[in-house]
Amino acid sequence: MKHHVVPRKHYYLVFLALLCLTGTTVAANFVDVGGLNLLIALCIAFTKASLVVLIFMNVRFSSPLTKLFVAAGLFWLFTLILLTFSDYVSRGWIPTPQPWQESPNRNVDNPALH
């Protein structure tokens, strides 16, 4: 059968790496770095997922076709999220969508706002 047998040592190493990354992502969460928290958490999650896909699921040694399908799946997932998200991000950019909207008048000293 065409199959690449990965040495067991690799599996153990990946397991340790995954555990470390889990610890890192939890630890990172207790440090407030604003918007970067999400980015860090997602980067770690992607690293972990890549390790599982490449080593545990053996995609590293699979045919190009399998790799293409994995890539296609991710690509479509991002399309779904990105294009939907683009609507929500840009909704507020519409020239004058809000009723009664007026420009903030910075010259008025408004006690309610201070």
Partner: protein, 548 residues
């Protein structure tokens, strides 16, 4: 195309006395079959049943609209009728129609395989489809659904007091049937092609089925989970889409159309695949621009994913997102245009016969052209403001779905009927029926373009009197169309019993299903695995091909 025939086609096998139909006759042998051809027949019978049901609902809708006052059905009854029409026709007829019947039957034979990669999964697909169908139908008979096939929230999730959850579960299952069929096709095309059947020699029907399968696999799960969320929201009063619970109803539209726009290509792409086969056979010509058409099939499948927002130009979507979706929608028109031009060019200097399948092909090219072009006003951000949710939209997609897809399906059914059943159908009646369908179709749906332009909104039970003339015309056309659909049912049933036996290749067509197996094919399709040595559609193979 550099491939030039290097050897004559393999000689036709002698017809085996036992074919896939005569191998056994018990009901059990049909219900437990793993033969892709038998499963195709199971699907054919099932979707014909659903087509009749959907047609009945359409009849109610058209009858109601003869008068403007809304006096035949109650408003609720009318809403249930058009919802039933939409759900049954889309999920239980159009989406499985060509892939699950003609595709199931032909795809393995066309690529020289003994069966699909996973025959049991194929049978499972039919059972899931039937269970889904029974659940959706039981919802309709228990009281019906009145949400429209689009299930827009929060109406479907909060306000409708009908059988929404049950219907949604039925559609969820039907979706998985569709996924399994697509999965099977993708794997089969990748791994089971006969020796010599390279990607450049695949019949374009297979390319179309492959592109369709990609959409089925990638898009269907999203609508499945979305409909599930609607059911959960209804049942547990959890807020995903209901603004009263903090949700956003427009998010539902995004997720819904992420599937349901590509689903339009699930419906039309296989029809285009059929037309490729028909236009070459009855022009006795190699297809014009094989690579361009194959690429256009895949381009349509891929680009079709990025245009869903054009259903939401007036729904409060950001105008910037609207612009992206609009420009991509115009781009997606191009692969369709390429195909129409190539089909027309295939007829150039051909030897064109007027057999029934070719009549349907003429009809398809013409009506698909109109249907496709009238999509442009809907893709234009400005023009869509008036046209969206009017009868213009209704007319546009019926030109694609009925004028395109159903005509291609009928054309394909006539073309491969001798192969599937081993019987010929009466040519004269068939030509007459094709003509009736064409006339009835145009009379039904052309007035609807005018209605839309005049501002008649869709899904209206009662309407202002000035629209009545066009509605009456449309309903009259629908009755002619119904006759056009009934005639083939009659002569096909007659042909099953009394039609003259069909030879292996009655049309003189090219392709493994005609040249390498009998009519009807044997259980494992071929006596020996065929070896392919020539490109697809190698008509007039002894003459030197030219490149214009």
């Amino acid at each position: 195309m550099s491939t030039v025939p290097v050897a004559p086609p393999p000689p036709p096998r002698t017809a085996a006395p036992v074919n896939y139909l005569s191998v056994s006759h018990s009901v059990r042998s049909w219900l437990l079959t793993a033969d892709h051809k038998r499963i195709a027949i199971l699907f054919l019978v099932s979707i014909s049943f659903f087509f009749v049901l959907g047609g009945f609902a359409a009849t109610l809708v058209r009858l109601e609209l003869v008068t403007p006052r809304g006096d035949l059905l109650s408003d609720d009854g009318y809403n249930k009728a058009f919802t039933a029409h939409g759900i049954v026709m889309i999920f239980f007829f159009l989406i499985p129609s060509i892939p699950a019947t003609l595709g199931n039957f032909l795809l393995p034979i066309m690529i020289g395989a003994r069966d699909l990669a996973f025959p049991k999964v194929n049978l499972l697909s039919w059972y899931i489809f039937m269970i889904g169908g029974v659940i959706a139908l039981s919802a309709m008979f228990l009281g019906g659904v009145d949400t429209g096939w689009t299930f827009y929230t929060p109406y479907s999730s909060t306000y409708s007091n009908q059988w929404v959850s049950l219907t949604v579960i039925g559609l969820f299952l039907a979706g998985f049937s569709s996924i399994l069929t697509g999965l099977n096709f993708i794997v089969t095309v990748h791994t089971m092609r006969a020796p010599g059947m390279t990607w450049h020699r695949l019949p374009l029907f297979v390319w179309a089925a492959y592109a369709t399968s990609l959409i089925q696999v990638l898009a269907t799960p999203v609508v499945a989970i979305t409909l599930l969320l609607v059911a959960v929201e209804r049942t547990l009063r959890i807020g995903f889409f209901d603004p009263a619970l903090g949700g956003d109803p427009v998010l539902f539209q995004h997720l819904f159309w992420f599937y349901s726009h590509p689903a339009v290509y699930i419906m039309i792409l296989p029809g285009m695949g059929v037309i490729n086969e028909l236009v070459t056979c009855f022009s006795r010509k190699r297809i014009f621009g094989y690579e361009a058409i194959a690429a256009a099939h895949v381009a349509l499948a891929v680009l079709g994913f990025f245009v869903w927002g054009h259903h939401m130009f007036v729904s409060g979507q950001s105008i910037y997102a609207g612009m992206v979706f609009s420009i991509l929608t115009f781009a997606v028109a191009i692969p369709s245009a390429i195909k129409v031009f190539n089909w027309t060019a295939t007829m150039f200097r051909g030897s064109i016969s007027y057999d029934t399948p070719m009549l349907y092909t003429f009809g398809f090219i013409g009506l698909f052209t109109i249907g496709g072009l009238t999509g442009l006003p809907l893709a234009s951000l400005g023009a869509d403001v008036h046209f969206s949710d009017t009868y213009f939209v209704v007319a546009h997609f019926h030109y694609i779905m009925v004028g395109g897809m159903v005509l291609a399906y009928l054309g394909g059914l006539h073309f491969w009927w001798p192969k599937m059943t081993g019987r010929l159908y009466p040519e004269g009646w068939a030509k007459f029926a094709a003509l009736v369908v064409f006339v009835g179709f145009n009379l039904t749906f052309f007035p609807q373009f005018l209605l839309g332009y005049l501002g008649m909104p869709r899904r209206y039970h009662a309407y202002p009197e000035e629209f009545q003339v066009l509605h009456v015309l449309s309903s009259a056309g629908a009755s002619i169309l119904a006759v056009g659909f009934i005639i083939p049912v009659v002569y096909f049933l007659w042909s099953l019993r009394s039609g003259p036996p069909a030879p292996a290749n009655p049309w003189g067509a090219k392709g493994l299903e005609w040249e390498a197996t009998a009519s009807p094919p044997v259980t494992e399709n071929f006596a020996d695995t065929p070896v392919v040595t020539e490109p697809a559609y190698n008509y007039a193979s002894e003459r030197e091909p030219e490149i214009v």
